[in-house]
Amino acid sequence: MKGRTIAVVLNAGLVFLALITLTPVVWMVSASFMIPGEASTAPLHFFPAHPTLEHYQVLAERLHVGRYFLNSFIIASAVTLISLVFNSMAGFVFAKYQFPGRDKLFRFLLAGMIVPAQVTMLPLFLMLKSMGLINTYVGVIIPGLASIFGIFLIRQFAGSIPDSLIEAARIDGASEFKVYRSVVLPLCKPILLTLALFTFMGTWNDFMWPLIVMTDNANYTLPVAIANLKGEHLLDLELMMAGSVVTILPVLILFLAFQRHYVRGIMVGGVKE
């Protein structure tokens, strides 16, 4: 009997927590379909009385949300593709090659993870400015070209590839690049997918760096555009909710579709050395 009571309380707690977690997200979606002013009028109501798409229309036609979406998409895709190649090559080396200084180098990289990104931003901005890369895609992409976390993740996974497979390919006359391309990469597919999700979603949601680099409205990524929109349209609650939905929805769908792969990254990353 006592166990039964505990079970009821526990499951009620889970439901309650789920409600708290979901309420802001559901309200955001719901309010984005309300007519102007409806979400901020008492008495409290949660769902639109007369659902409308007008805010999405305004976002698309007058506020160029398609442009921001494209900017975010191009930047996140480019960072994902390039860093996947760079990180996988480095991760493979740290897992499978022996050479003097390897472990020292790897420890040096790991130690670098402790440096907050903000420390690099001021000189990086000046560097990009002198190269004429401020307000360009390349400028936003550059700090994401390689990531120490990505290298670490690949190394953890590639370590489990049997040496005999690599040796066998070498005996068959495969070049080192061929070994990487035809043996290591296919076997690393699961972790590559995980890392791709992490990188894409992280870049999509990144705020501070694109805020600094993109000075021209037309080049804003979605989070920067939303932050900027807030300045002029703070009173248009329903419109701002629609903008938030557009920003959140793509990564939310990605996450729900590839949940299992995303979660694995946290588990592997969370395992201590």
Partner: protein
């Protein structure tokens, strides 16, 4: 003698040829990422350090020749600036209140979801994780409306319980706690997953043995779960603290550092000094003070971790 030496070299060459090839290949594979990290990470960190000892400002952005070294003047100026102390105190509040709260909620949720009595576990795991993948800027915008004193959802809901409207983000005493609540809501799912993995790594027979010895649920929790989870907890606390020290987007979007600088954070101050007023030398010094604080905390964590392993 000479011939013997030559022979030795030759045989070593033959034996090492594949080894040398491998080393060359290794460095080629490393080249792209190491180059990127060196140019766009290591050099900027070192430059920022140099910059923090100069009067780099808006004139220097146009003409590097006007930059002058001024020793530790930026650092002494930082500590003479009341706003910096305010920002540091706010950031510490966020880290030391928000961090433990977030870890506690994560651990509590992980225990609940992992319990044998819980139903629909995968569903709850997904739901609790959803806020983690959302864009912080977008949810900060949403929460800004939820917190609205006159017609925010939160005050409307509270009014049914007879609670008078609260100015969540407008009251200097409540604004920071309100941001902490948003941060915990957004982040707890991440650490929850790490805790669930940690819980699942605890061997089941430990609990069975304790059960046979007559230990109840609470005793098992204190004697088995807590010690077995200690390494995971140290790791989780460490990544949470490092992340929380970098508080930026929440105050930038929700309060702009206000009211009365009650939510001004170190990174927000660095951003404003560096990229709004172009006091880049001063901003670089702020960044390094933040780095030093994070470093001290990380070293403390490592010491605790070592102790636990012994």
């Amino acid at each position: 003698m000479v011939g013997g030496k030559k022979q030795k070299t030759m045989s070593r060459r033959a034996g090492m040829r594949s080894y040398d090839n491998h080393t060359a290949a290794a460095w080629l594979f490393l080249a792209p990422s190491l180059t990127a990290i060196a140019i766009f990470f290591v050099i900027p960190v070192l430059s920022a350090l140099v910059m923090s000892f100069t009067d780099f400002d808006i004139y220097a952005v146009g003409n590097l020749n006007v930059v002058r070294f001024m020793g530790f003047r930026n650092y002494t100026r930082i500590f003479e600036t009341p706003l910096f102390w305010k920002a540091l105190r706010n950031t510490f509040y966020f880290v030391l209140v928000g961090g433990p709260l977030s870890v506690a909620v994560s651990l509590g949720t992980a225990l609940m979801v992992n319990s044998k009595l819980a139903r629909f576990k995968p569903f709850y795991r997904t739901v609790y994780f959803l806020p983690v993948v959302t864009s912080l800027v977008a949810v900060a915008v949403v929460w800004r409306y939820l917190y609205h004193p006159a017609h925010g959802l939160l005050n409307l809901a509270l009014s049914y319980f007879g609670v008078a409207p609260i100015d969540w983000l407008g009251n200097p005493d409540i604004a920071m706690p309100a941001i902490v609540v948003l941060a915990v809501w957004k982040n707890f799912g991440y650490n929850m997953l790490i805790f669930i993995a940690g819980l699942q790594n605890i061997p089941e027979d430990l609990y069975e043995a304790a059960h046979i010895d007559g230990a109840g649920g609470w005793r098992q929790f204190v004697d088995i779960t807590i010690p077995m989870l200690a390494p995971t907890t140290v790791f989780v606390v460490m990544i949470t603290i490092i992340g929380y020290f970098q508080l930026f987007a929440e105050p930038y979007i929700m309060t702009e550092g206000g009211p009365m600088n009650a939510t001004m954070s170190v990174v927000l101050m660095m951003y404003e000094q560096g990229f709004r007023w172009w006091n880049m030398g001063f901003a670089a010094a702020i960044a390094f003070v933040l780095f030093a604080v994070i470093l001290i905390f990380s070293i403390l964590q490592l010491i605790i971790q070592r102790r636990l392993q012994q």
